[in-house]
């Protein structure tokens, strides 16, 4: 049945995924069976008992058949009860995280995901986790309800503003997994995505220490573009001149900007650095002070990259 699994379901990223898939595939075949039964009987009756074929005269007067009706009530009932227990079994597993799991704090906010590791390392819209060790996410929201959905792990959990919810998974092999926000949360709901990188132990520790190797090799403007796209800047800032929640980046380099308090400044490297680290210090006139600070989230080289990138958007 592997072909069906690969057509219908994303690749399995955890051992738990296998249990869900087995039930899913069972349900597919069960449905195919009952559908064929229903469609087959229907087709056969329509053909066999079509009017043009009848010899006239009354049709038989059959009002009920207790035995038959019991059969088609009790058998489905037993099947459904079986499915209930099967689904419940997996659900319990998905709800009880092993005690030794690596705990990562997750915060959802329109429209980005922030992660914080036990050692204080933080990241936006991407996390790295070691292969073979269960990971537990402890999640909450700063605004509306979001939902953390990792298709390849077959797990999903709403992220609520007034309480902590948990979700766990046990990644089995190195690779990259997509995260979606599955609870509608407004304009950029569909862009509220993140990536989970499953690393081997060595690569994971290195990442915790110094950040991503690939990123270090990248030329600055290119890195800046990547940060713009992956760290959530694009949910508020456009690069084509249309204003969104925040001003567009297009052509702002070198411009004179006016702030809510009446002061002005020219957009240069220092101004951008300050906008990213202390966004509330100078709030542009006409915008709300809603930009989150990236203090501790962006490394020095990454801030330089953003500056170069904005510079390149003429």
């Amino acid at each position: 049945m592997n072909w069906l699994r690969s057509v219908m379901l994303p690749a399995e990223g955890s051992s738990y995924a296998r249990e869900v898939d087995t039930l899913y595939l069972f349900l597919v075949w069960l449905s195919v069976f009952f559908f064929v039964l229903i469609a087959g009987l229907m087709g056969w009756f329509v053909w066999r008992y079509r009017k043009s074929r009848s010899r006239g005269g009354p049709t038989p007067y059959i009002t009920h058949h207790t035995g038959l009706e019991l059969v088609w009530s009790v058998i489905p009932l037993l099947i459904l009860i079986g499915i209930f227990f099967w689904g419940f079994h997996g659900f319990i597993k998905a709800n009880v995280a092993p005690g030794d799991a690596l705990e990562i704090q997750v915060t959802g906010k329109k429209w980005l995901w922030t992660f914080e590791y036990p050692n204080g390392t933080r990241s936006i819209n991407s996390i790295h986790v070691p292969v073979g060790r269960p990971v537990k996410l402890v999640m909450s929201s700063e605004d509306v309800i979001h939902s953390f959905f990792i298709p390849s792990f077959r797990v999903k959990q709403d992220v609520l503003p007034n309480r902590y919810t948990e979700l766990w998974f046990d990644p089995v092999k190195p690779g990259v997994h997509q995260v979606f926000c599955a609870e509608y949360c407004g304009k950029s709901h569909s862009d509220m995505m993140a990536k989970i990188y499953v690393d081997d132990q060595a690569a994971y520790e290195k990442w915790l220490e110094e950040g991503d190797e690939e990123l270090k090799k990248m030329p600055l403007p290119e890195l800046g573009k990547l940060i713009y796209e992956t760290r959530g800047c694009n949910t508020c800032h456009s690069i084509d001149g249309t204003p969104g929640q925040g001003p567009s980046f297009k052509g702002i380099w070198g411009q004179q900007h006016k702030f809510a308090d009446g002061s002005t400044a020219v957009v240069d490297a220092n101004y951008i650095r300050k906008s990213v680290l202390e966004p509330q210090a100078q709030v542009r006139a006409g915008y709300e002070p809603i930009m989150p600070t990236f203090q501790g989230l962006l490394r020095e080289r990454e801030i330089l990259a953003v500056i170069e990138y904005i510079k390149s958007l003429r």
């Binding site: 039930l23 008992y49 009017k51 605004d143 959905f149 609520l160």
Partner: protein
């Protein structure tokens, strides 16, 4: 009465166009707007729900067109969010809920019972007027800023977003009353106004299903009303019930909402089942199989349906125990639906089946509703639900039951009773072609979405990953076929107004009472109070005695 009731299509001519009937007895717009005749109210409801269906349908085609490609195709993200919300809200509150009960049901239920009218004719008119006022509020909400919350109005998004959320919620609140009024009326009518000799078990199954629907309408709708009022108060006065920032609980809203809205899905499907239980025996010319099983499963669905709302909330943070209970009850409520499907199938066994347009819709219903019900089982299974919840799989599931089930049944019923309502026959061949296009288009559009959802495509997404594009595009093509089919069906029906009335009294050879009176019926329905000398599905009346 003849010993054999004519077979479908056997009678021709004999239209009663010259006679006085409910359509031509009085003239002028006021004679319609202030009528208390259940038939005229039904027809006004019919035009209103068809208009809503058209508007909701245009929104649907726009949604699908936008999803043809990732990122922007024809509109911005904000516009998209408004359009899908309006699509859902219009389809649910303005179209599907009133469609079968208030439009078709209003017209045929009293006729089927052999009654002169519903029990409370003025309340019936009030229901229509309230519906109209609700619709005006809904339209106001659309033109004064729109709504971008989804038809589910989840808090705290709905209490914090801008737009005309309060107006739209208020519209749904008002519409609730029109639904409650219809429910009260049907319950009283069924209890009190059955023709002499019509015992409960001699009622057509349509009436049983309507009875079950009415119970839900009367018991569940007030909960929605209160919930929506609380939402409005939260927005206006920050009373702090749902908004976490004010100390409220956002998940509470979901409980309240689904406590109504799950029963409401049965407000939508039971009337569909009602129609199918009429069409299948008529076009099989064979008595219904398992009358009592069908009747009681309607009632069972109505009652158990009140205790499964939590299956919409398995990943909302509700406890594991609650999840388990709701999952178990969800499986129980699936059984009566399965029973009905098997009963309808068995009714066709050894029948004399003629594939007229209404029957084609009924057969489409059987296939599509089967898929809808079977995929409901996926969603009821806890571990699988966690993966599929809030993906396109859910979107596909509920379209199979609501569109493939209810809307297809509505179209079947519309074709079935059209001759009775307007005294005119539509073109059979065109009707069949339209039905085929609808069936094909529907499956192309929505079968695809089961795959999309299983692969992890979340719902309410404006933008999506490139890997999903081929399936999204396929689904969009399907929506065009579907739209074309519906258009042809509409042209086919409406073009009957260009010819003289030509429908006989009983074109399909049915045995229920609405076919025993004139076509179109006179204002008081029957010339004499009908007497019941055979069951609603006895096509060969001598039989019962010999059997």
């Amino acid at each position: 009465m003849a010993d054999v009731i004519a077979a479908p299509g056997q009678l021709s001519g004999g239209g009663t166009q010259e006679q006085k009937n409910y359509l031509n007895e009085t003239k002028g717009i006021a004679s319609w707007l202030f009528t208390v005749d259940h038939k005229r109210i039904g027809i006004m409801y019919l035009w209103a729900v068809l208009a809503s269906f058209f508007i909701g349908g245009v929104f649907a085609l726009l949604v699908r067109l936008e999803l043809l490609t990732p990122k922007e195709t024809i509109m911005s993200a904000e516009a998209y969010n408004r359009v899908f919300t309006l699509h859902g809200a219009v389809m649910v509150f303005l179209f599907i809920i009133p469609s079968i009960p208030a439009a078709l049901g209003n017209f045929v239920l009293p006729l089927m019972l052999g009654a002169k009218d519903v029990a409370f004719p003025r309340l019936n008119l009030a229901s229509f007027w309230i519906y109209a006022i609700g619709a005006i509020f809904a339209v106001t909400a659309m033109v004064t800023g729109g709504v971008d919350t989804g038809w589910t109005f989840y808090t705290p998004y709905s209490t914090t977003t801008s737009g005309a959320v309060s107006t739209m919620t208020f519209a749904a609140f008002i519409l609730g009353f029109s639904s409650i009024f219809t429910g009260i009326n049907f319950i009283a009518t069924i209890h009190k106004l059955r023709a002499p000799g019509m015992s409960w078990y001699k009622m057509p199954l349509f009436c049983w299903s309507m009875y079950a629907t009415s119970i839900i309408q009367v018991l569940a709708t007030p909960v929605l009303g209160i919930t929506l009022l609380l939402l409005i108060m939260e927005r206006a006065f920050q009373i702090g019930i749902f908004d976490a920032k004010l100390g409220g609980d956002p998940v509470l809203f979901q409980h309240f909402f689904w406590f109504y809205s799950h029963p409401a899905v049965y407000i939508m499907i039971l009337p569909g089942m009602a129609i199918i239980s009429e069409i299948i025996p008529v076009f099989s010319r064979k008595t219904i199989f398992g009358y009592k099983a069908i009747a009681f499963s309607s009632v069972a669905i109505a009652l158990v349906g009140f205790f499964v709302w939590g299956h919409h909330m398995f990943v909302s943070g509700q406890s594991v125990l609650a999840g388990a209970i709701f999952s178990f009850l969800t499986f129980l409520v699936a059984i009566p639906s399965a029973i009905k499907v098997f009963n309808w199938l068995t009714t066709m066994y050894k029948g004399q089946i003629s594939l007229k347009t209404p029957m084609l819709y009924a057969l489409s219903f059987l296939l599509l509703f089967a898929i809808g019900g079977l995929t409901g089982v996926f969603l009821g299974a806890l571990s699988v639900n966690v993966h599929l919840h809030d993906t396109y799989f859910v979107v596909a599931h509920f379209h199979y039951v609501m569109m493939g089930g209810t809307v297809i049944a509505f179209l079947g019923g519309l074709h079935y009773w059209w001759p009775k309502m307007f005294g005119r026959m539509f073109n059979e061949r065109v009707g069949a072609i339209a039905c085929a296009l609808v069936f094909i288009g529907f499956n192309v559009t929505f079968l695809t979405q089961f795959v999309l959802g299983s692969q992890g495509m979340p719902r309410r997404y404006y933008n999506y990953l490139d890997q999903f594009q081929p399936l999204h595009a396929f689904s969009t093509f399907g929506s065009w076929i579907l739209g074309l089919g519906l258009l042809i069906a509409a042209v086919n029906l409406f073009s009957t107004f260009r010819k003289k009335p030509d429908a006989p009294r009983n074109p399909w050879g049915a045995a229920t009472l609405e076919w025993q009176t004139d076509t179109p019926p006179i204002t008081h329905n029957f010339h004499h109070t009908p007497t019941i000398d055979h069951g609603p599905y006895d096509y060969f009346p001598g039989q019962r005695k010999h059997a």
